[in-house]
Symmetry: C2
Subunit: 445 residues, 2 copies
């Protein structure tokens, strides 16, 4: 299978608007899963689409040799919503190749990365007729909404998913050509709150001054989440936070240009975060409280002098070991209720949650991964804790009790979750090779 054929398949994969959070895309989700199954079968894998209470899971398998190790490769075919659409240079579900990158929603998160592994296996089978290991692909459709069905699915299908090691490429490389082993991920928990006041939008002249404004109340609640030094001000929030180890500080000190790269890819001049921690620590090893969205009142053109009847905010909290998502939500909800101004009411809706992950890159499988990565990307590997969350990784560790290797292929300026998401074609091609080298390293170990 040549580069051009691989790109054609990626293009097809990226055309499915497989947006798991938007109910109107349920049909697209199923179509995408069925298409994946068909591809896997064409490549010589046994594949199945399993329904769940939410979106289906695709499982594809090669080999059942008890003398070989079994590698489970996890990925997801669902993507984030593409909005705001007007900020895309080319439409999010019409992949466009420009300057060595493929632009499309899901190109790096995660279709491009999981497809690199699939194509690595497909190519090896085509060229050599067999693999040095058994492989199970587990590709879900609910990663972007917190994998609500996957844990139950894994419990129910333990047998077919049994494995010796788990490989995931759903993270970033710190810089082009620098092999990056992600040994930690933050957890996440979500909470949406709505403040309601008057029974209808009020004339801000006839009522303003004597009636509490729900938009003001929402703003105060958001403002109450942090102190002036970037710390989360929710009482008890840091209680269970595991401190950063000395070896981690040393490993991170060896990563060059992280701060400059962060500024550049974010498009900001000045960083701002929790006092006393470096940006790499703030992102990888410290928890956060972020507003992902807020709204209230009149947002159209011009002025509308209303005192809105309600306003809302969507919050997520990135967590680190050993914070418990439910405990954090309890603390946050109590905090919001304490700070709620008089004259308005608060409605809280809890969202999806996942615990943080912290692996050990020094295990034998970890060392196999480092060797494979350094063969494909000729540069010493770096070790980082990533700020993002793949909540299911914690479940993998607990259900299967095996090492989880996070071998990121995404470029650090991939714009995951943002308009103009992209994936370096070079990384896609190297990813295909990495899969083959890695499976050999594991098979020979």
């Amino acid at each position: 299978m040549g580069a051009s054929e691989s790109l054609t398949i990626l293009n097809k994969f990226l055309q499915f608007p497989s947006i798991s959070t938007q109910p109107e895309h349920k049909g697209d989700m199923l179509a995408c899963a069925e298409w994946l199954k068909g591809c896997c079968e064409d490549w010589g894998l046994d594949a199945e689409v399993y329904p769940t209470e939410g979106h289906p899971v695709v499982v594809a398998r090669y080999g059942n040799d008890l003398d070989k190790k079994t590698v489970l490769i996890y990925g997801h075919y669902d993507v984030q919503p593409p909005e705001p659409l007007e900020e895309w240079e080319t439409p999010p579900f019409e992949p466009s190749e420009r300057e060595g990158r493929i632009y499309a929603r899901g190109s790096s998160d995660n279709k491009g990365q999981i497809l690199a592994h699939l194509l690595g296996v497909a190519q090896a089978l085509k060229e050599e007729g067999s693999l040095p290991v058994n492989v199970v692909f587990l590709i879900e459709g609910e990663e972007e909404i917190g994998s609500p069905s996957l844990e139950k699915f894994m419990e129910a299908h333990r047998e077919i998913l049994r494995c010796d090691v788990i490989v995931i490429s759903d993270t970033e490389m710190v810089a082009p050509g620098v092999p990056t082993v992600t040994y930690g991920l933050r957890g996440i928990t979500a909470l949406e709150f709505k403040v309601t006041g008057p029974s209808h939008d009020l004339h801000s002249g006839s009522y303003g001054g004597a009636v509490m404004n729900p938009a003001t109340a929402v703003a105060r609640l958001i403002a109450s989440l942090h102190d002036g030094e970037g710390r989360v001000a929710v009482p008890g929030f840091y209680e269970d936070v595991r401190p950063i180890q000395d070896w981690e500080k040393e490993a991170q000190a060896q990563i060059e240009g992280f701060e400059d790269d962060l500024k550049k890819t974010a498009g900001v001049d000045t960083l701002f975060g929790e006092k006393g921690f470096s940006p790499i620590e703030q992102i990888g090893a410290r928890p956060t409280a972020e507003v992902n969205g807020m709204g209230g009142g009149y947002q159209g053109e011009g002025t509308k002098t209303v005192l809105p009847k309600s306003a809302f905010a969507k919050l997520t909290f990135r967590l680190v070991p050993d914070q418990d998502p439910e405990k954090i939500l309890d603390l946050v909800e109590a905090h919001l209720r304490t700070h709620l101004p008089k004259g308005v009411a608060l409605e809280v809706e809890r969202g999806h949650s996942g615990k943080a992950f912290l692996g050990d890159p020094q295990t034998p499988y970890g060392q196999s991964a480092v060797r494979a990565m350094e063969k494909v990307f000729p540069h010493p590997a770096v070790f980082i804790r990533a700020g993002g969350s793949i909540p299911i990784v914690d479940s993998f560790q607990h259900i299967f009790g095996v090492d989880v290797l996070l071998l990121g292929l995404a470029n650090s300026d991939c714009l995951a979750h943002a308009p103009n998401e992209n994936f370096l074609i070079e990384n896609f091609m190297q990813g295909i090779r990495l899969n083959q080298v890695l499976l050999r390293e594991i098979g020979e170990d």
Copy 2:
């Protein structure tokens, strides 16, 4: 002209979606103005539609007798945007009669009220062939966006607008059947601000913790506008506020049930406002800072874990004598810049402004108005300062140097600026009578 014919004309008037702030309704604005002109001509008035830099002004005139007094009656044919549309029980521009009320955008603010005066004159001319005074109707199309063209128009057409007294019905009655003389109005000034940070929406995992979140920044800026006791916390904000007079406190103490009515019409259990002032004072005689709208990040269904690139808020400030709108905006802008968190930028756009109005209800014209109102509504008149703003009233006082009488006809639960705006049909009918009685009182004085 009978009640049914009057209602038919009101229905027609209310069907024009004359939304001055939305450019797509420019044609509807002109059509509404031309329709008004045609009606006035049918009723025996000389009418003209004058173009302005914005929406046109309608002037309609009866009489030019130098021995008679001239009454200028001001109103506006533009309306607030109807959004949120889904909260209307019947469509905003399809007037619906239910339980003695007409429901439609603009029914009380201001089409119903100005039409009552027009129909009063039309009916008097039909029945008696003449009026006891000269009348000039000045009906603009930009009241809801701060009357940007009207002052210039009045300066340029001083001659045709010359008058002895100005009458405006664009305020509310404190309770059904209670004649309400509004001797004060708050001023207003508007400011929209936008906080920008990253060049694009960021993944809240990969960047959250080290990059300032613009939505958080907007929330903090909004929160910084008030202290815990309902006072506006912008330094210097209260510097020029004229204290409430003793006679006003006495007059207000005589108004029964204001607080209960306010709670009921707002649909709230608890009021909240500036400490040390009663609700009637908080609304009529004290300035405010209100968020009319705010937004940032993902507001759709589900979760999108972004750190948004920008967020915004639309603010208006209701002002009292002797606050200067431009000075207030200077203070607010300085305050926002002082409180802006590090790592984000602030863009400020100033909106329309108007000074507060404070009249004297004890002048001879004021007394004529009280007599007329007490004849039509058999209850002692009450005197209040209203919380809303009709910025042009201050200009009337300055340009024409005459008394401005604010004789409200709207019911206090009229839902002006909100979904399901309505006007009591009884008030509409009494308004037609009030016009006739008032013009006689003024003519005979």
